[in-house]
Symmetry: C2
Subunit: 250 residues, 2 copies
């Protein structure tokens, strides 16, 4: 069907995990991933799951986020407020459409941070988009309620009889491929002796945001990796550390 | 603003009342009405309300449904499945639009029944419309989750910056006016000796469904009440019990 994962990170209350499973199953979602749940399995999770305890049994527990999203193309973070992080405004309805289109070729994921703190900057660093559920001035949605609203919007466009959604022609690059791209970039920066001049060591953070936002597909990923490999294939210029172009003609 | 009431009937779990208050406040709703809550106030309700305990404090507790909806024009019931009760299919998005339009002139209400049993037939008997939240085959939405989805759809069209909604020119008849109409009809049926021939005494149930579905406005109500009064002003024909027209010319 539509391989869309719900990823709960550092969830403190097991009841929220159960309520999330119930919310998901009502809306046809099945893939629950838990990163460092504080208490799981737990009786409170099972009680709140009601008839969705099968989703809890199949839930995959991870010790870090990378494995929870490794094969995923589109990764969407959730935030109570649109933060000033170069993320464009993105609401649940539009988000659901983007997720379903992306998931036509590669799994997609929605990340939910800890109940109090939300997603950390490092977790936001793997997100292509950031979705915010519109609320009144009092903005304090329960975690499972937020899952419910996004799952509801997904169900409206994936349920039987819904009009077909556009599919991606080329699959998105996966989250692990993105990580390898960033590692490759760091290697190349070292190789060409490119210095971080952002003040405070923000170079890689900015690079990540830029490329995450771009939602690279597989073709684009291949092109970028090819460019980086070509840079590395270049002999270092004699004399070592300069980053200017080598003088020998190609 | 938009006087839209959330009416919880025979709620068994106080936690659901608290979670409902929180769901409402996030989406700008404030009017919570509780009909025969099993336990209220209750610590679990307060805990789950989080920062929305002001809504719990202002919640109005009723011993029966009539007072909870007495001034309301549009009354919408919620049901897990579209029941075979002459109700047209009605989904949350369309329902939200209808509620906001109706509430431009008279308060509107959404009714949520007991967690296990849902709304009773008698409670459905006061509803103009029946809304069903679309779900997958597993259809077991938590009560407060159902409130959350409807409140979310309401917020999307009432939040600041939303395009203006059409307003009703004439206010809807209120639920207590509808009750007086049904009483008037019963009086007239007795007066004209009109027999219930539905088999099983369903006459008034069918009459209620018909007029509830029609969503009468104040003008129409005045016309109907005028007709009924005119019938009663007619002298009974001599000889008493016949329901044929009187023979004397008018």
């Amino acid at each position: 069907m539509f391989p869309i994962r719900i990823v709960l990170i550092d969830t403190a209350h097991p009841g929220n995990i159960g309520a999330t499973a119930r919310a998901m199953k009502n809306m046809g979602l099945r893939e629950l991933h838990l990163v460092r749940p504080k208490q799981f399995p737990h009786a409170e999770a099972t009680a709140r799951a009601s008839g969705a305890d099968d989703l809890l049994e199949q839930a995959v527990v991870h010790s870090d986020l990378a494995t929870a999203i490794d094969a995923c193309g589109l990764v969407v973070g959730t935030s109570a407020r649109q933060r000033a992080l170069n993320f464009e405004p993105f609401e649940p309805r539009e988000c659901a459409a983007a997720l379903v289109t992306a998931a036509s070729r590669t799994p997609a994921a929605i990340l939910f941070g800890n109940e109090r703190a939300g997603l950390t900057n490092s977790e936001l660093g793997v997100c292509n988009r950031l979705v915010t559920i519109p609320t009144a001035e009092y903005s304090s949605l329960n975690l499972a309620m937020a899952v419910q609203i996004l799952a509801y919007e997904l169900w409206l466009i994936t349920r039987p009889g819904s009009p077909p959604r556009p599919e991606r022609e080329v699959p998105l690059a996966s989250a692990d491929e993105m990580q390898r791209l960033y590692q490759h970039l760091e290697d190349v920066f070292a190789y060409i002796d490119f210095q971080d001049r952002t003040g405070g060591g923000h170079l890689m953070t900015r690079i990540r945001r830029l490329f995450n936002r771009a939602e690279l597909d597989q073709n684009e990923m291949n092109i970028l990796r090819g460019i980086l490999t070509a840079v590395q294939a270049r002999r270092r210029p004699a004399g070592g550390k300069s980053s200017v172009a080598p003088t020998s003609p190609d």
